[in-house]
């Protein structure tokens, strides 16, 4: 649609068209008002130029109606733009249910990616065309920002927390990945490429490389290695809560308060287990802060999330309206 516009970025995601439509509409309105004001200023400045030295302007009565008109019309337009912008924004930060989850760890000055199948990449990310992809991101040091202009998505990547962004590539090709939040000396070098492939090509690409264990398998391994399974058992909830099916559910805390279990809550419970103690349990769990890399924490969380869907398959009746999105089929 905008192919022949010079100095214009490619559109390579389903979101890009929506952002551009909003942008060009707003740009059109802006150009109209800009030219209107500039035109009037130039016209008045020439038409009413001073003819004699002691001439003075002709004051007019205050125009209350004019004031109201030129306050209300811009306000109405701006509110309409707000509403449209809000719709696009909410959409950009709410991944569809069938999105596949990839993990992103940023550090000065590189991007580390892990595919659900276990493949790892640095600075480049291969993704299949036409598949919604959700990124769960964290940083090992300072704040970075994941920015792919061709997809029109951007989200900051923070230390100590997870942020999420999603996209669905709509065009095969190689697209710039930038770090958009200033992060130190090599900030401008902290980039790479997103390589969008036909799904079949993507499968071949995956198959052609040694992927290692999948995210969930690595997580399961860690779950045993770190002895999580001694307390968090699937058959007994005496020492610690059962983790099957916990993701996406609401938990109640000792001393009041509830929360829906999401990635950030799981992370906090691993790093600082006693901060939000589930009702009925004692603060027995030690902290794992400093004992696992960010990648490992993400794998562990990936595994716990997979337990959620297992539980659903096992019991069938657990799910309700607040049920989590299904974890991708591992094949």
């Amino acid at each position: 649609m905008w192919k022949n516009v010079p100095f214009f970025p490619e559109q390579a995601s389903t979101l890009a068209g929506e952002v551009d439509a909003l942008y060009f509409t707003f740009l059109g309105i802006s150009v109209f008002f800009g030219l209107l004001v500039a035109g009037l200023v130039v016209f008045f400045a020439i038409r009413f130029r001073r003819r004699s030295e002691d001439e003075i302007g002709r004051p007019e009565k205050a125009g209350i109606w004019l004031e109201i008109i030129w306050s209300v019309i811009p306000l109405a337009i701006l509110l309409a733009m707000f509403a449209w912008g809000a719709k696009v924004y909410v959409q950009a930060f709410r991944p569809p249910g069938n999105a596949i989850e990839y993990f992103v760890t940023a550090k000065q000055w590189m991007w580390k990616f892990q595919h659900p199948q276990g493949n790892r990449e640095i600075n480049n990310l291969h993704v299949p065309l036409g598949q919604p992809i959700r990124l769960t991101m964290t940083s090992e040091d300072v704040i970075h920002s994941f920015f792919v202009p061709a997809f029109r998505v951007k989200a900051d990547v923070l230390p100590g927390r997870y942020t999420t962004v999603w996209f669905e590539a709509s065009k095969v090709g190689t697209f710039h990945l930038f770090c958009a939040e200033y992060c130190g000396a090599e900030h401008s070098m902290m980039g790479g490429s997103i390589i969008v492939m036909e799904p079949a090509d993507y499968e071949m690409w995956l198959a052609g490389r040694d992927s290692g264990p999948s995210v969930i398998a690595s997580g399961e391994e860690l779950f045993k290695l770190k002895a999580c399974n001694t307390c968090h058992r699937s058959d007994s909830a005496t020492l610690a809560p059962i983790l099957h099916g916990v993701f996406g559910e609401e938990v109640e805390f000792e001393g009041g308060g509830t929360q829906i279990v999401d990635e950030n809550y799981l992370r906090e419970s691993i790093m600082n287990p006693t901060a939000k103690l589930v009702k009925g349990y004692k603060p027995l769990m030690p902290t794992y802060k400093g004992q696992m890399t960010e990648d490992e924490v993400l794998q562990l969380i990936g595994y716990i999330k997979s337990l959620a869907s297992d539980a659903k398959e096992d019991h069938g009746a657990v799910s309700d309206s607040s049920s989590p999105d299904p974890v991708p089929d591992e094949g």
């Binding site: 001393g255 600082n272 006693t274 901060a275 103690l277 603060p283 902290t287 802060k289």
Partner: protein, 220 residues
Amino acid sequence: MQGESSHSWGLAHHFDSFDQQREASNLGMWVFLVTEIMFFGGLFTAYVVYRSGQGAAFALGSHELDITLGAINTAVLIGSSLTMALAVWAAQTGRRKAIVGFILATILLGGVFLGIKVVEYSAKFEHHLVPGPNFHWNGPEAPGVEMFFNLYFLMTGLHAAHMVIGMGILLVVAILAWRGAFSPENHNLVEGIGLYWHFVDIVWIFLFPLLYLLGRNIQV
């Protein structure tokens, strides 16, 4: 209104009357106190944000503070506010010696407050609760407790710094008062420092419950 020629001692050249000068001085002091509210406001915001996320850790932290010393200090500081208010009253009614006496009493009470604060700080030091590399906490919630003590030391430290500055200015004002610099028409300085001192008192009125009392009811 007084003309240019009848300017009397203590009236600056660009003011027309003592009334105008006093109103300007008073408004100026209030505007300054608003900036002080916002200055402390940044820390209060940090406190509210973190307490909303880590209430349990903050409760643990508050149990480490000495509530008796905190309460005594509250009383001492309110007492100093009373003597300060009386100093202003003495200035308004032209009692020279009383101004000096009440200001000295205010400084003395401020000193008591800071003395008790030093006792509290040194106890924290012994228990390794002073933020920085030596911070050590055996119990649960170590990060949140450390955050609590970071805020505790920053907030009370900033407050104490304000008191030290205030006491310095009070001393100067006391000397000026002794020399008879103030009259019922012109005592803006006493009034100004008085407003400042009460403000410092108000900050403590909020710090005391926020740091010492909230979470006390929770058994740990």
